[in-house]
């Protein structure tokens, strides 16, 4: 894997989080390399979503540090982290439901161009912004749905929109939280292909339960069990790892 030679984009160092007396993160060390697609797997309650919330700034860590391209981001607010080039999608569909698909994306494009408090120009003639939003909509294959309200899109279309919104902010590091959850086999295959295409040249970290998605899409996998990284490696390494087998994968097959 040539990704091994790439510089580190995201470094997580001894990350801890406890809610009251409950320890959720018990010292996570993890390094994500430039351009890789990294999956985070683990049993329910392992802390995958918490880890995403800590990286993206939803929660503050109780201990440890997170660096994005060498700059410390732990303790920053979500919008500050987003402006430094790391954006996430959500496990539950999280779009602007009463706005059109096109406008959902355009809000992201506005963020990328730093248009935050512009009250003195009309948005309609802003060519660059509108063109870019249209191009992104096309990229996530929703151009035929441009004028439909986000709430009127199908579930899988909403998930695609979600990814489009994440891309629109121009983030180099993208965190996807279960992008194929609740999808049929066909929809999942479609989504995997879409993710592969649109994250080309970017760094991707995703939480995923579907092992076929993980093995098919990702370069490296980390297994999170009870707030610790049990193992990190290529899909082959993880598949053959005894500890992982007993802790997680084996457990899955019994069901």
């Amino acid at each position: 894997m040539d990704t091994v030679m790439q510089p580190d984009v995201l470094v997580i160092d001894d990350l801890q989080k406890h809610f009251g007396g409950l320890e959720i993160m018990r010292g996570v060390d993890l390094t994500i390399k430039q351009g890789e697609r990294h999956a985070l797997v683990g049993p329910n309650g392992a802390g995958k979503s918490t880890l995403f919330n800590l990286i993206s700034g939803e929660h503050r860590p109780s201990g440890g540090r997170i660096y994005l391209r060498g700059q410390r981001i732990s303790g920053l607010k979500p919008e500050q982290i987003s402006r430094r080039g790391l954006t996430r999608s959500f496990q539950i569909t999280n779009v602007f439901s009463r706005m059109s698909a096109f406008e959902n994306i355009r809000i992201g494009v506005m963020a990328r161009h730093g248009i935050r408090f512009n009250l003195y120009r009309r948005i309609k003639p802003m060519r660059a912004i509108n063109d870019e939003a249209h191009a992104l909509l096309q990229q996530v294959r929703l151009d035929h749905r441009a004028d439909n309200l986000a709430s009127d899109l199908t579930y899988s279309e909403q998930r695609a929109l979600e990814i489009g919104m994440t891309l629109a902010t121009g983030a180099e590091v993208i965190l996807l939280d279960e992008p194929t959850a609740g999808m049929s086999r066909d929809e999942t295959a479609y989504m995997v292909e879409l993710i592969r295409q649109v994250t080309e040249g970017k760094t991707l970290m995703m939480v995923e339960h579907d092992m076929s998605v993980v093995f098919g899409l990702c370069d490296r996998i980390s297994v999170l069990v009870y707030g610790r990284i049990l193992a990190t490696g290529t899909p082959e390494e993880i598949r053959s790892n005894q500890e992982v087998q007993s802790a997680y994968l084996g457990e899955e097959e019994e069901h």
Binding site: K77, T87, M99, I107, F117, R121
Partner: protein, 428 residues
């Protein structure tokens, strides 16, 4: 779009041409309706577009009013030369500042907590004002005089009307332009999903403060116009009634549509003007209207109009004409029955009537709908029933028919028919 522009221009022409032909009573009523319309539009920026329901917007309305009264006094005593026509600018500036400050704290929370903080801030002013003579003139309030400016004396109600109209049209125009800017779009995104805009790199708290402050600023203009029109202001402008009235106007008009609250404010203000001159029960009628709109047309009057405009090509107007006419007739029957009962009770249960009965020992006939009625005559009580029962039955039939016709031509987009469906649930 072209029709909308024509309609607006026609309405504007009417608002310019008609008032000189009306009496001062109506001119004054129109001034109040225009002020209520601007206040509702400003309020709806916060509620409908920003998704933040405030129960204390009287605070910013009142701040605008008192700012202008103070300034008018200074002009009157010759301390500062300030043209009367530009007075609302001062109200806008002070309300903007107060809105930014209050918004900073209020928008730290959302939902019920936000509503309670805004309510508390307004109540704070309301209870403080009567005890602070220099600032708010105590319980009596402050008064001043409009000074001539730019060749206008502002002595007549008509001149004040045109001043109000100009400011209201400009401000509503600016509020509409706001929705077309990038920040206007961000405001809608904020309403839909605050968490998401944070993760997209926007400062949600900062965005909310700006929305709040701008809403307060335009509310301040409305308050300023009120002060100019009345030449006085007292602590009651901060009262909960003022805050509640703008909520009522906004939701009866429909908060999801830009022009909804403006329509709601105009309709209800003029309704109040007309009905309060006739009966003491006008608040009851206003309440009935509010409840009916919330139950059967939650998107408000504006929502119903919008649904019709959006579906204008798909609707079978010719076949709808008969059930619409029937619904109107049946609605009138029900309304007549309701008004008859309310007015009869108002008269019969009044103190004067009781005194007359005690004095003469007999129940005198009373007048409603230009006819005399005997309290104990069976027809008096049969009459509303004869109107109400067939009225409700016909209303139900008409709405069932309208529902069918709407559904039939509801081809691909299921969402559009939502408003009329809600409107018609009363018929089932």
């Amino acid at each position: 779009m072209r029709y909308a522009l024509i309609a607006i221009l026609a309405l504007l022409a009417l608002l310019i041409i008609a008032p000189p032909l009306l009496g001062t009573g109506w001119q004054y009523a129109l001034i109040n309706a225009l002020i209520a319309a601007l206040f509702a539009a400003a309020f709806n920026l916060l509620v409908g577009q920003g998704g933040m329901l405030s129960f204390g917007h009287a605070a910013y309305f009142g701040v605008g009013a008192f700012t202008v009264i103070h300034l008018m006094q200074s002009v009157e005593y010759g301390d500062i030369p300030f043209p009367t026509v530009l007075l609302p600018l001062a109200g806008a500036a002070v309300s903007l500042l107060c809105g930014a400050l209050a918004g900073f704290f209020a928008t730290m929370r959302s939902g019920v907590y936000f509503a309670l903080v805004t309510l508390a801030l307004a109540e704070l002013l309301h209870s403080l004002a009567p005890h602070w003579d220099e600032m708010f003139g105590g319980e009596a309030g402050l008064s001043s005089m409009r000074m001539p400016s730019l060749g206008f004396t502002f002595g007549s109600t008509l001149e004040v009307y045109y001043l109000t109209l100009s400011w209201v049209v400009i401000c509503i125009g600016l509020l509409y332009a706001y929705t077309r800017t990038p920040f206007g779009r961000l405001t809608l995104a904020l309403r839909d999903n605050e968490q998401r805009i944070r993760f997209m790199g926007f400062n949600a708290h900062g965005t909310k403060i700006v929305v709040f402050a701008i809403s307060a600023m335009f509310s301040g203009v409305a308050g300023s116009l009120m002060a100019i029109s009345n030449e006085t202001a007292n602590y009651s402008v901060f009262s909960t009634q003022v805050s509640a009235l703008v909520v009522l106007h906004t939701f009866v008009g429909g908060s999801t549509i830009f022009f909804g609250p403006i329509v709601g404010a105009c309709v209800l203000s003029l309704f109040t003007f007309v009905v309060s001159g006739v009966t003491h029960s006008w608040m009851l009628y206003q309440g009935i209207i509010f409840v009916l709109v919330m139950l059967f047309a939650p998107k408000g009057i504006g929502g119903v109009i919008q649904a019709h405009i959006e579906q204008r090509h798909a609707l079978p107007w010719k076949r709808l004409a008969a059930p619409y006419a029937l619904a109107t007739l049946a609605g009138l029957m029900v309304a007549c029955a309701t008004v008859f009962v309310v007015q009869s009770l108002e008269i019969v249960l009044s103190r004067e009537y009781a005194a007359a009965v005690a004095r003469t020992g007999e129940y005198a006939p009373y007048t409603v709908f230009a006819r005399e009625w005997q309290v104990f005559h069976p027809f008096t009580w049969l009459f509303p029933v004869l109107l109400l029962v067939p009225g409700l039955y016909l209303l139900r039939r008409a709405f069932a028919r309208i529902q069918t016709l709407w559904d039939k031509d509801d081809d691909d987009d299921g969402d559009i028919a939502a408003a009329p469906r809600e409107l018609m649930e009363g018929g089932h």
